[in-house]
C-alpha cells in the first residue's frame, strides 16, 4: 500500500481552519484553540522525521492536536479535582428527592419526536447547555462524547477514579437533559 507523505508548506492553507474548528469545539475558547493549532504545527514540524506515512497527513495532524487537547485537560487537573471535592450543590441532589425519586420540577417529560432532530438551532442550544456545565463535567463530557475517548483512558489521564467519572457523567447528563427540556423541548 502506498505510504502517505507530508507537505508542510501546504498545512496552514489546507488544514488550519479544520484544526481550529475541532479545537474550539473541545476547548470552547478560541484563543486557547488558536495556540493549540499553532503548537500542533510546531510539534508536527519537529516530529516529521518520525512520520512513517501510515496515517494520512490530515489524520496525523489531528492526532497531534487531539493529544494536545488531552494534555490541556490533564493540566487543568488540580482545579478540576478541587471542584469535584467542593461540589456541594450537585446536580443529582437537586433533581431528586431524599427518597431517590425524581423531584417534580426535574422529572423527565416526554420529548416530541419532531423536536429530537439535529438541526443547526438545536445544536446551538446543546452547545449553550454544554457551556453551563462545570469545568470538571465539561472536561469529562468533552473527552468522552466529543473526542470519543474511552472512559478508562479518561480516568487514567485525568487521574480520577472510576466512581468519580460516573458521578461526573451522570451529573452532566442530568443537567444537559434538563437544560434541553427547558430551552428546546418546550
Amino acid at each position: 500500500m502506498a505510504k502517505h507523505q507530508l507537505f508542510p508548506d501546504t498545512w496552514i492553507d489546507k488544514y488550519s481552519d479544520q484544526l481550529l474548528g475541532y479545537a474550539v469545539t473541545s476547548l470552547r475558547d478560541r484563543d486557547t484553540a488558536k495556540d493549540m493549532v499553532q503548537e500542533t504545527f510546531f510539534i508536527a514540524l519537529r516530529s516529521k522525521e518520525n512520520y512513517r506515512g501510515e496515517l494520512s497527513e490530515k489524520n496525523w495532524l489531528f492526532l497531534i492536536l487531539r493529544s494536545r487537547i488531552l494534555d490541556y485537560f490533564k493540566k487543568k487537573k488540580e482545579v478540576l479535582e478541587s471542584q469535584l471535592i467542593k461540589n456541594d450543590g450537585d446536580e443529582d441532589s437537586s433533581q431528586f428527592l431524599e427518597t431517590g425519586a425524581w423531584d417534580n420540577d426535574a422529572a423527565p417529560k416526554e420529548w416530541a419526536a419532531d423536536r429530537m432532530v439535529e438541526s443547526k438551532e438545536f445544536m446551538s442550544v446543546l452547545q449553550q447547555c454544554r457551556d453551563g456545565l462545570s469545568d470538571m463535567q465539561q472536561s469529562v463530557f468533552t473527552l468522552k462524547f466529543i473526542e470519543g475517548i474511552e472512559s478508562d483512558v479518561i480516568c487514567k489521564e485525568l487521574d480520577i477514579t472510576s466512581s468519580n467519572y460516573w458521578v461526573l457523567v451522570h451529573r452532566a447528563k442530568l443537567q444537559l437533559r434538563k437544560c434541553l427540556e427547558i430551552n428546546w423541548m418546550k
Binding site: 508542510p8 496552514i12 481550529l20 478560541r30 510546531f42 445544536m123 447528563k173
Partner: protein, 78 residues
C-alpha cells in the same frame, strides 16, 4: 426496587458499558414500571449520540493565517 436516582445512574452507565446481570435486571425492571426513568434513559442516550456531532465552524481570519505562516515558517527554519 431501586430508586429513580439509582436507575438513572445505571442508565448512564449502561450507555457506555455492559452492566452486570443484576444491574441489567434492576434497570429493566425499574424502567418497565417508571415512565420517567424510561424517558430519561432514551433522552440521555440520545444526548450522548448527538453530542458527538457538536462542531464549531470557527475559522482563521486571513490576517491570522498570514501571522501563523510567519511564526510556523520561522520555527521550521530554526
Amino acid at each position: 426496587m431501586i430508586s429513580c436516582k439509582e436507575a438513572s445512574e445505571l442508565s448512564v452507565k449502561s450507555a457506555e458499558k455492559s452492566l452486570g446481570l443484576k444491574g441489567k435486571i434492576q434497570l429493566w425492571f425499574h424502567t418497565m414500571q417508571c415512565q420517567l426513568c424510561k424517558a430519561f434513559d432514551t433522552q440521555s442516550r440520545w444526548i450522548g449520540k448527538v453530542a458527538s456531532n457538536l462542531k464549531s465552524d470557527e475559522k482563521f481570519t486571513e490576517a491570522e493565517k498570514i501571522e501563523l505562516k510567519k511564526v510556523v515558517g520561522e520555527k521550521s527554519n530554526m
